[in-house]
């Protein structure tokens, strides 16, 4: 109903890529890191890293249904850290360059990201600024043809391997939202320091870094859009980031349900397979109902994007709902697996750890609620 032959062909390619190039390796990557340069190069060669971007910069110039198909299939990765790393590249660190960047920035930084030659990261969060982005302290001071940047960022996905970070920094002390700039910061710039890879409960294959900037001098032309507009541009970029999370959420929830059903079909408790318990079957039925709702909201958002409408409200609702959904499904499924689910050898235990992030990262649930309440005028 929604997809044509081309969408199906893309789905087959991404499915195969996930089955062959990602899933066989995730157990190893969970112990170390996803080798991003290697993975992204393969994806770039297949045209997967700039599906909606302008062909002038190596993109495919295709519509959001293709993007959706791509994200849905990535949802089948057996470690959520992999699609997250990919999502940073395609939906979190580059949309602003594509939309607001100069020709120079697009040629120098967007093109190699789309080709898979450069790995990207998005640097917004700081020790003193997470949910309250506008309280960030990293400062960019204009000095002739350069900006000199001082400060730090934390929890930066892909931060250890990135070739550049799309970085939000303060350009003036004036209160309000017009005191920021969004910059492309090459990580080989002197003064750029990766302090460490952080140790996390989940998303273990993803590298999450703490970054420091010590009198780091970057060319003024690395500013994306106008000075003073960085915050607004980043808020728009967040819409892509949050949209990215939706298809993966309902697909991953479905996978968790499927693997759990398979398990409780053969697991006998009190003489009968667990699935015979109505209370469990009803719980499963409730989750598939909810994930169908999220899927339909997501399809509605795609239609809105296709019409060029502002989908901030719907995307925010989707992100909120998705965070709760994967959390509830992972928690509930693990319960059905019992002690087996608590063992690291079962995928559900990794899913449980990985899925915990969605209601925090990319804007916590409470922040989503604030946005929705504001848009509703409450």
């Amino acid at each position: 109903m929604y997809f044509n032959e081309d969408h199906n062909a893309l789905r087959a390619t991404v499915k195969r890529f996930v089955d062959k190039e990602i899933n066989p390796y995730v157990d190893d990557w969970e112990q170390s890191n996803v080798p991003l340069h290697d993975l992204f190069k393969k994806m770039g060669d297949l045209g997967l890293l700039g599906i909606t971007y302008d062909p002038k910069y190596g993109g495919q110039g295709l519509d959001y249904w293709f993007d959706l198909v791509f994200l849905e299939e990535l949802g089948h990765c057996k470690a959520d850290g992999v699609p997250m790393a990919i999502g940073v590249q395609t939906h979190m660190a580059t949309p602003a360059i594509h939309e607001f960047g100069s020709e120079y920035l697009k040629e120098t930084y967007l093109k190699p990201a789309v080709a898979g030659d450069m790995v990207t990261a998005i640097g917004v969060t700081e020790p003193e600024a997470g949910s309250d982005v506008a309280s960030l302290l990293t400062r960019a001071v204009k000095d002739g043809d350069s900006y000199v940047i001082n400060g730090s960022k934390r929890f930066i996905t892909n931060g250890c391997q990135a070739d550049y970070v799309t970085l939000l920094a303060r350009t003036s002390d004036d209160p309000g939202y017009h005191s920021f700039g969004l910059f492309v910061v090459p990580t080989k710039t002197p003064g750029f320091v990766v302090n460490k890879k952080l140790d996390k409960m989940g998303m273990r294959c993803s590298d999450t870094a703490e970054l420091f900037f010590d009198d780091m001098r970057i060319p003024a032309e690395n500013l994306i859009g106008e000075e003073g507009e960085g915050f607004i541009i980043q808020m728009k970029q967040f819409q892509h980031e949050r949209f990215y999370a939706l298809p993966g959420a309902y697909v991953s929830a479905r996978d968790m349900i499927d693997m759990t059903v398979e398990y409780i079909r053969q697991r006998k408790v009190f003489g009968k397979p667990l699935i015979a318990k109505q209370v469990l079957r009803h719980r499963l039925a409730e989750w598939v109902t909810q994930l169908e709702c999220l899927k339909q909201l997501t399809y509605h958002i795609v239609r809105m994007k296709m019409e060029g409408l502002d989908a901030t409200r719907e995307i925010t609702m989707g992100k909120l709902f998705a965070g709760d959904l994967v959390f509830n499904v992972a928690h509930g499924c693990l319960q059905m697996w019992g002690g087996m689910g608590y063992m690291n050898e079962t995928l559900i235990s990794r899913k449980f750890r990985d899925s915990r992030l969605l209601s925090i990262g990319g804007g916590a649930n409470e922040v989503m609620l604030e946005v929705i309440a504001k848009l509703e005028g409450f």
């Binding site: 390619t13 495919q60 295709l62 293709f66």
Partner: protein
């Protein structure tokens, strides 16, 4: 080098196959169809040879309209043209009839080499490739795991595994080679490839277009008749050997292998 690849569409290996009420066919409603994996090796090998020597790769499929999707996949991988032989009268044809229709479609094309998979993973007959070679009067080399074209492009050398050894066969061209697992690792259809595939020529041919008599095709004309399909026997539950010590368990295992399984 102009190369033809014969392609069959088969149920995805992940599909749960159900036998239809007639007991002679399978339920096709919920099946996801894919390109026969052995044919995919053929497509890949043809593309590699084309990339080395130039020329064109033509993909030929037979079956209902849905086979178009698999032909498009081959085009997205890099093949140049497609031909779909499709006709209601073909429904239920056996391997020989299929080979006849394919032969009619390719005999007048300009080709140096034909690839097919060594067998379709659905019926496992493995007959079409050899039959087409026979009908065309060209050499048939089966189960290729390595294919090398001579620099003068006049001969082909094919490695075939035989009982742990390798048989090396040299043949004149044109020839037909059936592809075996191990020949290569097929590439992915890239997204630009997928979009380009739409604009590549894909011709449809009916039996009449090929100058064939429909009465020689279909279920009625089968030389090989299917009498009955039965599912494989359900796997019996495994047995867990009880025992306090490894010695005890080993002794019990030996006893069971001797007395119950009667293999020792």
């Amino acid at each position: 080098m102009n190369i033809i690849v014969l392609l069959k569409q088969v149920p995805d290996t992940e599909t749960q196959i159900k036998i239809a009420p007639d007991g002679k066919s399978i339920v096709t409603d919920d099946i996801k169809w894919i390109m026969n994996p052995y044919d995919e090796f053929g497509v890949e090998e043809a593309l590699r040879i084309k990339e080395k020597f130039g020329g064109e790769v033509t993909v030929v499929g037979l079956g209902p309209k849905r086979v178009t999707e698999s032909i498009r996949t081959a085009l997205a991988m890099g093949a140049d043209k497609g031909i779909l032989i499709t006709d209601d009268a073909l429904e239920g044809s056996d391997s020989l009839a299929v080979a006849k229709a394919i032969t009619a479609a390719v005999k007048d094309l300009d080709y140096d080499l034909i690839f097919t998979g060594q067998r379709g993973i659905d019926d496992d007959m493995g007959v079409v490739g050899a039959s087409v070679a026979e009908l065309l009067g060209i050499p048939n080399i089966s189960l290729g795991i390595k294919v090398e074209i001579s620099e003068d492009q006049k001969t082909v050398t094919v490695n075939r595994p035989v009982e742990g050894q390798t048989l090396v066969i040299e043949s004149s061209l044109p020839a037909l080679i059936t592809a075996q697992k191990g020949l290569n690792e097929p590439r992915y259809a890239s997204l630009p490839g997928i979009m380009k595939a739409k604009r590549k020529p894909l011709e449809e041919k009916s039996l009449a277009d090929l100058g064939l008599d429909a009465s020689e095709f279909g279920t009625e004309a089968r030389k090989v008749k299917i009498l009955e399909l039965t599912p494989p026997p359900e796997r019996a539950a495994g047995k867990i050997i009880e025992g306090e010590t490894p010695q005890e368990k080993a002794a019990e295992l030996a006893r069971l292998l001797h007395e119950e399984a009667k293999v020792l």
